[in-house]
Subunit: 170 residues, 2 copies
């Protein structure tokens, strides 16, 4: 776990504690997993990752912890109808996602360059994209608000396609 993730974990723990929540070993393990992974894991993956250290942990606990974090706005849930939900515990604010339709990888453009999760995005790309999208969505939301009365409070922007790796494989 890098420095940034560590910092985020500390903040997360502090905020939960401040709200009167307890920090059981299982819960901390889930938090640690969430802040250190860039691959947007699903509940099953989180559960599997924690089992070696805490063999008795149940799936229900993972669900409950995720639910708690959602309530506090500490994770971004990416729900896909059939495929279940995936979670981003590093960047809870809305941002674009790159979803490879072949291998299922979900990449966070803004983070992919920092510690490559296997997606091949450079941080130049990451930063440019993050800024572009934020600006465009903001403009879009402003236009809607002014002209149609729709008050945008959040959004979701998913791009589906083939990641560099799968593309290379033919």
């Amino acid at each position: 776990m890098n420095a940034e993730a560590s910092r985020r974990l500390d903040g997360l723990i502090a905020r939960l504690r401040a709200r009167g929540h307890r920090l059981t070993p299982q819960r901390v393990a889930i938090l640690r997993e969430l802040v250190s992974r860039t691959d947007h894991p699903c509940v099953e993956q989180l559960h599997a990752a924690i089992l070696p250290s805490y063999p008795a942990t149940s799936l229900a606990t993972v669900y409950k912890t995720i639910h708690l974090l959602k309530e506090h706005g500490e994770v971004l849930e990416l729900g896909f109808g059939e495929l279940g939900s995936r979670y981003d515990g590093r960047h809870p604010e809305p941002h674009p996602h790159l979803i490879c339709t072949r291998c299922g990888t979900i990449a966070d453009p803004a983070a992919a360059g920092q510690e490559d999760a296997g997606t091949g995005f450079s941080d130049e790309v990451a930063d440019t994209m993050a800024a572009e999208v934020a600006a465009e969505v903001a403009a879009f939301a402003a236009a809607l608000s002014k002209r149609a009365g729709f008050a945008v409070s959040s959004h979701r922007f998913d791009l589906f396609g083939l990641c560099a790796r799968c593309r290379a494989k033919g």
Copy 2:
């Protein structure tokens, strides 16, 4: 059902027939419902809508028909983790959606002005937004493709917030 919907229904029927599919009354009723509604109905709503005319229709048939249409790219499925899926049978290509978090209405900016489904969008807004988004997404996809090797083939852009109606109600 207006002229545009009627035209789309004809085309839909022709394409299904051309692919060797049969057109049972239930199936036609589902198609008719899909092309004439602007409110992005869920499967249950479609089922409820055709029950008066075809009381024996089962939910499974609606699911199967929707699945068939998805395979042919004739409906756009908007899956929401918990809330199930909603369907757009008028515009199967990716386009933005405005989702009211209070009343659950899902509006299609590009269509809302034409026959107001209760969302208060003018067609000026609709056309502007549709064009803006198409251009922005295209630029975004091109940037990704060139710089990161991610080949975008489709996308999804959802805006969450309050529609004019709910906003007015306080």
